[in-house]
C-alpha cells in the first residue's frame, strides 16, 4: 500500500496558490482577448473582402491543425531569432489568445450562419447600417446559440495552459512539477493539482455561463 503524505505537498501551498492564480489570470486575459479576436475573425470570414477572408481562413486552419505546445514553443523559442523576446507569461498569453481566437472564430461563424436571412433583411429594411445589423441583430443571438460551446472551448484552453509550464511560466502544473521534483511526492502533488484544475474548471464554466447572458447577449435570449 502506498503511503500518501499530502502534508509534504500542502506545506508548499504558496506555490500552489500562486500557480492557480496565474492559471486563472492567463485564462481571464486570453478569454477576453481571444473571444474578441474570434468575433472579429468570424465577421471577416462572413462579410470581409476576398483577401482578408483568405488571410483569416489561413490563420484559423493553421492554428486548428497544429499542436498547442508547438505554437507555444514557436512563440517562445522561435520568435527571438526574429528579434522578438517575450517573457514566458506574455508568450503563454499570446499562444492562448491565438489558439482561442482561431477556435472561437469557427464557433461564432457557426452561430452567424445559423441566423435566418429574414432577420437580416428585416434589419436592413429598417435602414440600419451594416455595423448596426451585425452588432445588434446578427451577433447577440449568434453568441447566445453558441455560448455553451464557447464556454467549453475556454475551459479546454485553460486546461491546455498546463503545458505553459514547459517554458517556465509558473502556472499550476509548473508548481506541481516543481514540488514533486523537490520532495518526490509525485502522486500527492498531481492529485492536488488535478483537484485544483477540477475546481478551477467548474468555477470558470459556471462564471462564464452566468456572465454571458448578462454581458454579451442579454438575458431574454438565454431562454431560447
Amino acid at each position: 500500500m502506498i503511503e500518501l503524505d499530502f502534508g509534504a505537498v500542502l506545506e508548499q501551498w504558496p506555490l500552489l496558490v500562486h500557480g492557480a492564480l496565474l492559471t486563472l489570470a492567463l485564462t481571464a486575459i486570453s478569454t477576453i482577448v481571444g473571444i474578441a479576436l474570434g468575433i472579429a475573425c468570424a465577421w471577416v470570414r462572413v462579410n470581409g473582402a476576398g483577401p482578408a477572408r483568405l488571410l483569416v481562413a489561413s490563420y484559423v486552419e493553421l492554428v486548428r491543425n497544429t499542436p498547442f505546445i508547438v505554437q507555444l514553443f514557436f512563440i517562445f523559442f522561435g520568435l527571438p531569432s526574429l528579434g522578438v523576446k517575450l517573457t514566458p507569461e506574455i508568450a503563454s498569453v499570446i499562444a492562448m489568445v491565438v489558439n482561442l481566437g482561431a477556435y472561437s472564430a469557427e464557433i461564432v461563424r457557426a452561430g452567424i450562419e445559423a441566423t435566418p436571412r429574414g432577420q437580416v433583411e428585416a434589419a436592413r429594411s429598417l435602414a440600419l447600417s451594416e455595423t448596426q445589423v451585425f452588432l445588434r441583430v446578427i451577433l447577440p443571438p449568434s453568441l447566445a446559440r453558441v455560448w455553451p460551446a464557447m464556454v467549453s472551448q475556454v475551459v479546454i484552453v485553460m486546461l491546455g495552459s498546463a503545458v505553459c509550464g514547459q517554458i517556465s511560466t509558473r502556472e499550476l502544473s509548473y508548481a506541481a512539477n516543481l514540488i514533486q521534483s523537490r520532495n518526490f511526492r509525485a502522486f500527492e502533488a498531481y492529485i492536488i493539482a488535478t483537484a485544483l484544475y477540477l475546481i478551477l474548471a467548474i468555477v470558470v464554466r459556471r462564471l462564464l455561463a452566468w456572465l454571458g447572458p448578462r454581458l454579451l447577449f442579454g438575458r431574454e435570449l438565454k431562454a431560447r
Binding site: 514553443f73 527571438p80 523576446k85 514547459q166 517554458i167 517556465s168 512539477n177 521534483s181
Partner: protein, 262 residues
C-alpha cells in the same frame, strides 16, 4: 547524470561476488607484452564520449584513452560501455581500464581502484562573454535557465541571490533552447550538456562563468592492481605537468582542467 552515478555502485556490488580474488598478476605485464590495451569508454555522453558523424567514437575520454595507449606503446581497443556496466567490465577483466566519466565514491572504492583524476566534471553557470558574471551574487537581476530537479537546480537555488530569476525547464533540451534562443541571459547545467551546446552554437560566444559543483573523473583499474595503477598515475602526473590534461579539457570542455585531485 544522477542515474549514471548511482547505478554503477549497485552493479558494482553485484559484480563483486563474481570477480573473486584480485588478480595477483598485473594487467600491465599483459599490455606491455601484447602491445594491446582494452579501454572502456562512453559513447552516449558528449563531449566525453559520443559517436561522431563518421560513426567513430570521439570525445575527451576517447582522446585520453588513446593518449594513455600511446604512452604505453600499446594499440588501443575501445570498448563502448554504459553507465551501468562499466565497473562490471573492469571486474571481469574484459577491459584493462575504465575511462568513462567515472566519479570516485566510497561505494565504488570498495570494488575497484582509482588513479588520479584526469578531467573535471562539474555543474556550472555559462553565459555570453559580454555578460559579467563572476560569482553567484552577480546573478542578481539576471535570468538563468536550469533543468528542474537536477543537481544544479538544487545547488543554484541555494546560492543564487533572491533577485536572480531562475527559470526552470522540463529537460536539458528546453533549458538549452531557452539559452540558445536568448530567452535567458545565463544557463546552469552540467559540463557535458554545456560542452555539447557550445560546440554546436559557436555564435553564442558563451563561456564558463563559475562552477556550482565539482566532481572530477578518475580512471578505474581492477582492485589490487597496484602496478598498473602506479604506471597510469605516472602518465597522468606527466600529462598534467606537460599541460596535456589542460589542453584536453580546453578542447572538449572549454575550460582548463583546474585543480585535479590525486
Amino acid at each position: 547524470m544522477l542515474m549514471r552515478r548511482c547505478l554503477a555502485p549497485i552493479v558494482a556490488v553485484l559484480a563483486l561476488s563474481a570477480s573473486g580474488a584480485a588478480s595477483a598478476q598485473s594487467a600491465l605485464d599483459g599490455i606491455l607484452a601484447k602491445k594491446q590495451i582494452s579501454i572502456a569508454i562512453p559513447t552516449d555522453f558528449p563531449p566525453y564520449g559520443f559517436v561522431g558523424t563518421d560513426l567513430e567514437p570521439q570525445g575527451l575520454d576517447i582522446d585520453m584513452a588513446n593518449y594513455i595507449g600511446a604512452k604505453l606503446g600499446a594499440k588501443v581497443t575501445l570498448v563502448p560501455v554504459t553507465s551501468g556496466n562499466r565497473i562490471a567490465y573492469l571486474q571481469t577483466h574484459k577491459v584493462d581500464l575504465v575511462i568513462s566519466t567515472l566519479g570516485k565514491t566510497p561505494e565504488r572504492e570498495k570494488v575497484i581502484d582509482f588513479t588520479s583524476a584526469y578531467s573535471p566534471f562539474f555543474q556550472a553557470v555559462f553565459a555570453a562573454k559580454s555578460v559579467s558574471i563572476k560569482a553567484p551574487a552577480d546573478l542578481a537581476g539576471k535570468t538563468v535557465s536550469v533543468t528542474r530537479g537536477a543537481i544544479e537546480d538544487i545547488e543554484l537555488s541555494k546560492i543564487a541571490p533572491a533577485s536572480a530569476e531562475i527559470r526552470r525547464f522540463e529537460d536539458n533540451n528546453t533549458t538549452v533552447a531557452a539559452f540558445v534562443s536568448g530567452q535567458v541571459e545565463a544557463i546552469a547545467t552540467g559540463a557535458s550538456v554545456a560542452g555539447n551546446m557550445m560546440q554546436k552554437n559557436p555564435q553564442l560566444n558563451s563561456e564558463l562563468k563559475f562552477v556550482i559543483k565539482e566532481s572530477p573523473n578518475f580512471i578505474g583499474v581492477a582492485k589490487g592492481d597496484d602496478k598498473l595503477r602506479t604506471r597510469i598515475d605516472e602518465i597522468i602526473a606527466a600529462a598534467k605537468a606537460a599541460g596535456d590534461l589542460n589542453k584536453l579539457s580546453q578542447k572538449w570542455l572549454g575550460r582548463p582542467a583546474g585543480d585535479l585531485p590525486n
